[in-house]
């Protein structure tokens, strides 16, 4: 029961996080982070993912349960949230890098931080930064 509740919570956070990341990528024009090439569609799909994840979680079962009756306690919920969020960020970075692999091939210098995702993919930006660090050392 607890395992199933934890898994449901993990799925809720993972899908909602993926949706939020697409909404952010679309709003901030992080083209290298988009899973769908059109930013407006990515925003809409992201929003739908967030709403659908919450609707599924709360409509599929009764969720007001204490941790002694099948629910999960606060610490466990925090652990589930951080692992699901990390996985969502990892999945987004890897898949968006594969989907947008032509982005950033023109050899533009990589901007620092997340701003690089405006003109290149995460994996390409990371590889450029690691190469630069390697050369410097």
């Amino acid at each position: 029961m607890v395992a199933s509740f934890s898994l449901d919570y993990f799925i809720l956070v993972y899908i909602a996080d993926m949706g939020v990341l697409q909404m952010i990528a679309s709003r901030r024009d992080f083209r290298g982070m988009l899973l769908v090439p059109a930013p407006r569609i990515a925003f809409l799909l992201g929003f739908c993912a967030v709403v659908a994840a919450f609707a599924w979680f709360f409509a599929s079962e009764f969720r007001n349960l204490s941790d002694t009756a099948g629910g999960i306690d606060g610490n466990r919920a925090a652990q589930m949230f951080s692992s699901a969020s990390s996985l969502a960020v990892f999945t987004t970075f890897v898949f968006s890098s594969m989907i947008n692999r032509s982005l950033g091939r023109d050899g533009q210098p990589s901007s620092p931080g997340l701003d690089a995702l405006g003109h290149t993919t995460y994996l390409r930006a990371l590889s450029v930064s690691l190469k630069a660090l390697w050369k410097r050392s």
Partner: protein, 196 residues
């Protein structure tokens, strides 16, 4: 103290009398009061705050807000845990005939841990991003209000929890400034790996 307790009792009995009068309001309260809706929304907002900003300097400020909020959450939780070792207050439904919309928690009513955590997040973000902080503060207040309506908190439990969350988070925001340039250095290292 007696006066405070009687005000608390009067507020919760007045609020709880509306339970069962409007089905829609009760359904909404059952959803909002949950352990999983508002905490998850607050955490998602915290993650968005990390990524969202007009430019790199705004983003760096937001990210410091997220770090302060996370430290505030952890230490507010710890503070509530320590207080609970020395002080236990019964939940309102133990002494009043209330209609419950939530399960019966067995831990101390004062200080309210959910209020401490929610207000730590909201205040941490508010210190660096006013607009987002106000939205999160609204969500945190809604959560506390729904818990009172549902019969599991007194007003003073919520206020006590919120005060702990705000004070602890403020202390960490001051510490964050005192230990500069460490936070900025941590963020610059993360920027090198395109994570901040």
């Amino acid at each position: 103290m007696e006066a405070l307790l009687s005000i608390d009792s009067a507020i919760i009995t007045w609020l709880n009398q509306w339970v069962g009068k409007w089905g829609v309001l009760d359904k909404a309260a059952e959803l909002v009061v949950s352990d999983y809706l508002i905490p998850t929304l607050l955490s998602l907002a915290l993650m968005s705050t990390w990524f969202l900003a007009r430019d790199a300097s705004d983003r760096a400020a937001n990210q410091k807000g997220v770090l302060v909020a996370l430290l505030g959450v952890g230490f507010s939780n710890l503070t509530v845990l320590i207080i609970n070792q020395f002080y236990f207050r019964d939940r309102p439904f133990v002494h009043h005939d209330l209609e419950l919309l939530f399960y019966q928690p067995t831990d101390s009513s004062f200080p309210a841990n959910p209020a401490a955590v929610a207000f730590a997040i909201a205040f941490g973000v508010f210190l660096y991003n006013r607009a987002m902080g106000v939205v999160l503060g609204g969500l945190a207040s809604l959560w506390v209000l729904s818990r009172m309506y549902s019969g599991v908190f007194y007003l003073s439990d919520g206020l006590g929890g919120a005060a702990i969350g705000v004070c602890i988070t403020y202390v960490f925001s001051v510490l964050m400034r005192l230990i500069e340039p460490l936070p900025t250095t941590v963020l610059s290292v993360m920027r090198r790996f395109h994570l901040a």
